[in-house]
């Protein structure tokens, strides 16, 4: 079970001019003291077409994290406009908040972001070259899309592999719904065996 549960993300300063920093107030709860920091990241998807235009706006370590309920504000600068394809500047895109523990992503919170001109003239006749100073960023805060990933919270890679080798319940006779396939852990986010020495 995940040791860290995100209870809420409040989107602050929204809507706001495109150049304003992103501000997310994140509330999370931790089941037990974490020996290592959490790493949070804000990723701005510059273009739906390609991950090439993804920008990691910022990443912060959050810690120490004792058991309990915690909150912090994660502020990150607005994306670098030079790296956004001009055709994608206006319209809908996505901003992602991810959190990793021991290098493994365990939660991904996605928001749709709508970038629009506030001036009616600009709306009608958007300039070929985006005028970022006139763009307003609107994060669809009411509809976060949360994906949780199974990770190994203890940070020992070998056990993860073991869990893969455990035979999932055979012949439950089609009684399991398709979405209920006994969960195998993804072999991602493992650490090499010598990780202890590197720490």
């Amino acid at each position: 079970m995940a040791k860290v549960q995100v209870l809420n993300v409040a989107v602050l300063d929204n809507p706001s001019p495109f150049g304003n920093p992103f501000q997310f107030e994140i509330t999370f709860e931790c089941m037990e003291d974490l020996p290592e920091d959490l790493e949070w990241k804000i990723i701005y998807v510059g273009s739906a077409e390609s991950e090439e235009y993804d920008q990691v706006l910022d990443s912060v370590l959050v810690g120490p994290v004792p058991a309990g309920r915690h909150m912090f504000v994660f502020q990150a600068d607005a994306p670098n406009t030079a790296q956004i394809p001009e055709s994608d500047a206006v319209g809908v895109t996505v901003v992602l908040i991810t959190c990793t523990y021991r290098g493994q992503e365990f939660i991904r919170i996605g928001y749709y972001v709508n970038n629009e001109y506030t001036e009616p003239e600009l709306r009608e006749n958007p300039p070929l070259k985006p005028n970022y100073s006139q763009l307003q960023r609107n994060i669809l805060a009411s509809n976060p899309r949360v994906t949780r990933f199974h990770i190994n919270w203890e940070g020992l890679a070998d056990k993860m592999e073991d869990s893969e080798n455990v035979d999932p319940s055979p012949n439950t006779g089609g009684m399991l719904p398709p979405s209920c396939i006994p969960g195998k852990m993804p072999p991602l986010g493992q650490m090499p065996d010598n990780s202890m020495d590197c720490m």
Binding site: M1, Q5, L7, V9, A10, V11, D13, N14, E25, T27, F28, K41, A48, S50, E51, E52, V60, L61, V62, A67, G68, R69, M71, F72, Q75, G91, V94, L96, T98, G103, R108, Y112, N114, Q136, N138, L140, A141, S142, P144, R148, F149, K159, D162, S163, V166, P168, N171, T172, G173, M175, S179, C180, I181, G183, P187, L188, G189, Q190, N194, M196
Partner: protein, 1020 residues
């Protein structure tokens, strides 16, 4: 009989595998599949029972939902006292939930269901031991134990008074165990498995009492669950799926001799669940009819894969009622209300049905006293469980000492619960001090300014989160969450955003903070349906408007959708490593990208979300081919950033063989204190420290002894002299040596120096030469002194140990050849214990000591030993946090022991294997401590070992241990028994071990036996 299908009880259409009504009848729990996890939900019973409550929007229907299980939840069960809820799931875990009464409503963040949790149920315990899906859980009468069964073929009995302690693990099934039921008088537990058997286990000694196979030989393992049930009078056990004449039945097993003569017949497909009504009934007395007392009878509900439900009275030959087509899919679970008149049934089709019976239909339920009377008349006083009794088990305690330990245990348990009960109150002031009386709203306003942000050594931002509630005993402080549930902006934004996306005007919207207070008011009231509907409508509005404004962007939207569920490319780890190698060797990159795409696909499968997402994910995989070059660039860029940030991560995350060959680092060595950085290993040639002009070291703390060496300080008659100066408690002495000193060492008793001319000199603490200079064959590699022993490890890989006062060699020119196998192995650490035992740690993680009595090298620690990694004896550690012993054994094993304990938490090793490994490990520790003559460590491990034996119930070994410690009661010449070991009196050790044994009632005979003998010996 009334029948109701409350459509609002649903897991969004996902299957519901389990249902259980709370003992107080006010709520019930369901368990099953959630969106991408297992789901446990708690529902209000009132809207099920009364139509007006169902219509009343102020009465909440859903009370709480918990997504903590990572995979499908197969079973939910309330404890008999109603304080706890246990759930078991495909994630191999059993979770125990407790209500945190003092927190206001909250929601599960990001779940599509915006309904607030009215009650807060919090996971207070995770029970890990099963290595496969947990299929059923059951609380014993009086909540003494919690049993769980799993597809790993085992049943685990947990001590419900002392979670997460395991009482035992029942082995014997050879197939998936799919159902459990306790005997109502607590004498047995029965289990049914796919191995065509139903087994009955005794709770006295946890051994199998009966193995019933005949009715099950024809059964195939086609049902998801086999929930069997014991009748409330204890007389009958009714199985799930059994076969009789090729027809599916529910087999009735009589307690008396486990006879299988009767069954419930009639279902067309396998029986998945049987559930006895908790009440015993007697025939309704009609006015005017004869007052002749009728025989009490039981009532049983049977659910089947044929989607129908039958209810039987044991007094009738035919079912009381059969209900067909109640569900679209198999019935999965049944729960009766404690009154015996209501019943909830859940199905794989994701719905729940409620059946309401009348007294006329079922009869008059017996009162609890009458039920107890029946129990007593059948089972006798000693076995009958009355409500006032809260005993640990039905075993009679025969020994007053035993009773004492048992009582002590109960007292401490009660003290614990009392402390837990006092938790919320006591933690409140703590939180207040953190908060300084500020309201949460105030804090939130200034959080950004107030939060502490630092930079780590490598220049990264690090935020210290503000702790807003502490987590003690699973309950949060009441101080904060009564007034203001933290969730305003999430919902309030929808109101605000909707017009903005819809209409094209309204540029100057007030900030979200301005709107918040109003919204808070709405949210703090119970989630009225109108409000929720409004919000949902708004959501829909937003969605549609979003789609409208971006109709031309449908394709990108799909691509965007996939981004929500996909792991970040930018996360350190495998992916970035792949791209980094790709960047290094662009020619070879193609196949690897294929791998990465595969891996991505795998990840997506794991994070099973809705099918839409999956489709998008698949699309995305198809698109992968085209985007390869971009991925490379992207990856390269990320790696660039990463290198600035945390370069070591890059190195770690390089599992590609190619990059490995480039990065291969020299084999790691831990230079010990006395050994200078080792030179490249020549076969059997140990590194020697280089000569320094001068050096000083502290050789002893108490008394404090310092050594100063100054080499070649003066030239007398052409030869250079070196000076050794020693200061002990402020008093100095010095001596001169003809050759430069390479290494020096000392203890509070002796000092030793080795010179360049391979001479070893030994002095007393006052500077008197104790031994003539010893000529060594090869230069000294390491030198140690401890107590009055001197140890030399020469560069020629030989070892000497001398006892200085006795002027005697304990170890004489012993070669390390035996242990230095393999070319790369070198000595990484060496030490000498206070008892003069030399210990050598090698670079391959093994540590040896030379036993002068056995005249051999003995292995005392192996960091690569899988036993160390997997041994799990946490539950056996001393309760008070006694510092882990700090003797030579601990020094050599280092923190690796910790790693082993961590590893064991991920319980993916089968339990029996782990048990054997732990046993072997503990015995290794004992033997090692013995060889090292480290008495404190021996005692420490002995007690852990004893506790482990007690917990695991291995009487044979325990008896051997006691026997060895007690020795012969009557002195005899033939006996070779020594009364002490390592200076510890064995019988004293036994006295320490006995209370541990006394904690397990199973061993009370053993306890008594040795207690008596000890007493006898003491009186002698």
């Amino acid at each position: 009989m009334k029948l109701l299908k409350p459509s609002w009880v649903s897991h969004n259409g996902k299957p519901i595998f389990s249902v259980d009504i709370h003992p107080d009848g006010t709520k019930f729990a369901t368990g099953g599949q959630g969106e991408d996890s297992g789901k446990v939900m708690i529902w209000n019973m009132a809207p099920v029972l009364r139509e007006e409550d169902e219509k009343n929007e102020n009465i909440p229907k859903m009370l709480c939902q918990m997504d903590n299980h990572l995979a499908c939840v197969n079973c939910v069960r309330w404890s008999n006292n109603g304080l706890y809820l246990a759930s078991g799931g495909d994630d191999k875990l059993v979770m125990v939930w407790k209500r945190a009464a003092l927190i206001g409503p909250s929601t599960v963040f990001g779940s599509s269901n915006k309904l607030a949790n009215v009650e807060q149920w919090r996971c207070v315990m995770i029970l890990r031991n099963h290595t496969g899906d947990v299929m059923d859980v059951a609380w014993s009468p009086h909540d003494v134990w919690l049993a769980s069964c799993s597809v790993d073929n085992t049943i685990v009995i947990w001590n419900a008074r002392k979670f997460p302690e395991m009482v035992t693990c029942l082995r014997g099934h050879t197939g998936l165990v799919k159902g459990l039921t306790w005997d109502p008088v607590g004498k047995y537990i029965a289990s049914q498995a796919d191995d065509h058997s139903l087994k009955v286990w005794r709770t006295v000694d946890w051994q199998m009492d009966a193995n019933i196979t005949k009715p099950f030989t024809e059964c195939g393992g086609t049902t998801h669950v086999l929930r069997l049930s014991w009748s409330p009078d204890g007389q009958y056990l009714v199985s799930a799926h059994a076969m009789n004449n090729s027809g599916p039945t529910a087999q009735i097993v009589e307690r008396d001799g486990w006879k299988t003569n009767m069954d419930f017949v009639g279902h067309r497909k396998a029986v998945t669940v049987v559930k006895f009504n908790p009440k015993i009934f007697k025939k309704k007395q009609k006015n005017g009819s004869s007052t002749k007392p009728s025989c009490p009878y039981c009532c049983c509900a049977v659910g089947s894969k044929d989607r129908s439900l039958s209810v039987w009275l044991t007094s009738l030959k035919r079912p009381l009622v059969v209900i067909h087509d109640l569900f679209d899919k198999s019935i999965m679970d049944i729960s009766w209300t404690l009154t015996g008149l209501g019943m909830l049934v859940c199905s794989m089709d994701g719905t729940v049905a409620y059946l309401d019976f009348s007294l006329d239909e079922l009869g008059d339920p017996l009162s609890e006293e009458e039920k107890n009377t029946i129990h007593q008349s059948i089972y006798g006083k000693s076995l009958a469980i009355t409500n006032t009794e809260a005993q640990l088990s039905t075993t009679i305690i025969e020994n007053p000492e035993m009773l004492k330990y048992q009582q002590e245990r109960q007292n401490s348990a009660q003290a614990n619960t009392a402390a837990a009960g006092a938790g919320p109150e006591s933690s409140a002031p703590k939180v207040n001090s953190v908060m300084n009386g500020e309201s949460l709203e105030d804090i939130r306003k200034n959080l950004l300014k107030k939060q502490v942000e630092t930079r780590t050594a490598d220049g990264r931002r690090r935020i210290t989160p503000l702790c807003i509630a502490q987590l003690d005993t699973g309950d949060f402080s009441p101080a904060l969450f009564n007034s203001a549930p933290i969730l305003p902006s999430g919902s309030s934004m929808s109101n605000q955003l909707a017009p903005q996306l819809n209409s094209d005007s309204s540029p100057g919207q007030p900030s979200s903070l301005g709107l918040r207070p109003n919204q808070d008011g709405m949210l703090t009231s119970p989630p009225a349906n109108s409000t929720n509907k409004g919000l949902e409508d708004n959501n829909d509005g937003v969605k549609s408007s979003l789609l409208l404004t971006s109709a031309s962007k449908m394709e990108p939207m799909k691509a965007l959708d996939s981004r929500f569920t996909e792991r970040s490319k930018a996360t350190p780890g495998v992916t970035s490593a792949i791209s980094s190698t790709a960047g290094l060797t662009p020619l070879d990159s193609r196949p690897k990208d294929g791998i990465s795409a595969l891996k991505d696909a795998k990840t997506k499968e794991e994070t099973s979300s809705d099918s839409e997402d999956k489709m998008a994910a698949i699309n995305k995989n198809l698109a992968f081919g085209k985007r390869k070059p971009e991925l490379l660039m992207d990856g390269g860029e990320v790696v660039e950033k990463r290198k600035k940030g945390r370069p070591r991560k890059d190195k770690m995350a390089a599992p590609i063989p190619q990059s490995f060959t480039q990065i291969t680092s020299p084999p790691e060595r831990e230079p010990s204190k006395a050994v200078a950085p080792p030179a490249p290993a020549v076969v059997l040639k140990l590194p020697t420290p280089s000569t320094q002009k001068s050096f000083s070291l502290q050789v002893s703390m108490e008394p404090s002894v310092f050594l100063d060496v100054e080499n070649e300080m003066s030239v007398v008659a052409g030869s250079k002299l070196s000076q050794l100066r020693c200061s002990r408690d402020g008093r100095d002495w010095n001596t001169l040596l003809p050759s430069p000193v390479i290494v020096a060492a000392g203890s509070s008793d002796v000092l030793a120096v080795a010179c360049e001319d391979r001479m070893l000199s030994v002095f007393s603490c006052c500077g008197r030469r104790l031994l003539p200079a010893i000529q060594l064959a090869t230069p000294v590699s390491a030198l140690h002194c401890s107590a009055h022993f001197v140890m030399v490890l020469t560069a020629g890989a030989t070892l000497f140990v001398w006892d200085v006062p006795k002027q005697k060699a304990l170890v004489k020119n012993e070669s390390l050849l035996t242990i230095l196998s393999g070319a790369d192995t070198t000595v990484s650490q060496s030490l000498l214990t206070q008892q003069g035992i030399p210990v050598i740690g090698l670079s391959n993680g093994k540590s040896y000591c030379f036993s002068s009595s056995l005249e051999t090298w003995t292995l005392i620690a192996d960091k690569g030993d899988s036993l160390v990694q997997c041994a799990d004896f946490r539950s056996c550690l001393p309760s008070h946090d006694a510092p882990v012993s700090s003797g030579p054994l601990a020094v050599m094993q280092g923190r690796n022991l910790n790693a082993g304990r961590l590893a064991s938490r991920l319980s993916s090793t089968p339990h029996h294997l782990q048990q054997s490994m732990t046993l072997a490990f503990l015995e290794n520790q004992l033997a090692s401590a013995l060889t090292l003559q480290s008495s404190q460590e021996y005692r420490y491990w002995l007690l852990i070992y004893a506790r482990f034996l007690v917990n695991e119930g291995s009487e044979y070994r325990l008896r051997e241990l006691c026997k060895e410690l007690l020795g012969p009661v009557h002195r005899s010449a033939a006996s070779s028994w020594e009364p002490t070991t390592l200076g510890l009196h064995k019988r004293e050790l036994l006295r320490e071990v006995l209370p541990v044994i006394g904690e397990n009632l199973r061993f009370q005979r053993l306890f008594t036996e040795y207690q008596d003998q000890l007493e006898l010996l003491r009186n002698k």
